[in-house]
Symmetry: C2
Subunit: 222 residues, 2 copies
């Protein structure tokens, strides 16, 4: 158990160092030597977990969209809003999330399959919309697979625009505006009237998840 804990910590160290290097240098320019240096681990330890620069980048991409699980909500459109607004909040505060987004949007990252996060997010959103449909939350013309891609693609663009014009400072208000523009084409009016799409929602959800973790016994957290 102790050995496994150490391996998990080492892997986490390496990914955090890789996130930092990829964010600073871009995929093409970044080297494994720089990641080694930033992580302070041996070459053997790094290659035990990741065999190549691409595997490191895939590790960062996978980590950033797996890290936080939104509490289930009775209203699935609210749950979708929470996924988007929490991600916006975390993008301002978590280097791993920022690095993952940069890798995904890096059109010059040759040899790196960047479609993973787009496709994984699409599946997450699609599943939420399928449940929303079965609960009667969706307007009749909505096709969940099409709408899922619109939600994922549009949110990626709002992130890019916010990064470019304000260094993510206005991301939460832009994300709230995005949802207020998309959801009237997706959800029935009674659902719309019940939603919290405010700018501060991401931070509220973040604190909710944190306090749940803190209430759990220590063994369950590691």
């Amino acid at each position: 158990m102790v050995k496994q804990d150490r391996a998990v910590r080492t892997r986490k160290n390496i990914l955090e160092a890789a996130a930092k290097i990829f964010e600073e240098r871009g995929y093409q320019a970044a080297t494994i030597a720089e990641v080694l240096n930033a992580a302070g681990v041996t070459k053997g330890a790094l290659y035990f977990h990741f065999e190549s620069k691409e595997q490191l980048a895939q590790g960062v991409l996978h980590e950033q969209d797996q890290r936080f699980v939104i509490p289930g909500r009775p209203c699935k459109i609210q749950e979708l809003a929470d996924v988007v607004l929490l991600h916006a909040y975390r993008l301002q505060t978590d280097p791993m999330v920022r690095a993952g987004v940069r890798l995904t949007m890096d059109q010059h990252a040759e040899g790196l399959d960047r479609s993973g996060p787009f496709l994984r997010w699409s599946v997450v959103v699609r599943e939420l919309l399928d449940t929303a449909r079965s609960q009667g939350e969706l307007l009749p013309q909505v096709v969940p697979s099409v709408t899922a891609d619109v939600v994922v693609g549009t949110f990626a663009g709002v992130q890019s625009m916010s990064q470019t014009v304000s260094g993510y400072q206005d991301l939460q208000s832009r994300s709230s505006a995005l949802l207020r523009h998309l959801f009237p084409s997706i959800a029935v009016p009674s659902v719309l009237a019940s939603l919290d799409l405010s700018e501060s929602r991401g931070e509220v959800v973040y604190e909710e998840i944190r306090s749940r973790f803190e209430q759990q016994p220590a063994a369950a957290v590691s």
Copy 2:
């Protein structure tokens, strides 16, 4: 006049070569020597028009959003749709447009102010929405400056997602889906019912503009 024509052609050659190099190599890796080589012009000619790599990139960015002017439409929401759908069509067919988009989304282009296209597009969309409001086309809650940024940011993201998952092959259907999701939150129902937001709209508008050019006397075209 002849001298001026030659200067215009040289500038155009240089920008097309720069577009190709920036698209292939990314901003950071691209060099002025590569642009010189691809354009087949003298160093003196290039520096007469552009003093630095950044000026070349700004030239490409400026060119891609100035090149095509949409015919005015009585319905300004249709005109906005035409701007978006024509751009989607041209992104598939014009290297200058593709290079401009890549530069704008290149988060590792250090020292290059990439906010220009976002902000210029926002102004274009904002003006269309202001006119739409004065004509009674907008729903009462719409704030044109906020909605303009949502349209520009979301379209940028749909482009990125399309580039990543299909090399722009599905951009026209994704752009059509984007507008069908956004416009019900923006336009009054009678306007919505009159719109053409179909996938083929971009090509239709492109052919319309081309045929107008061809009908003009040759002197006006150069």
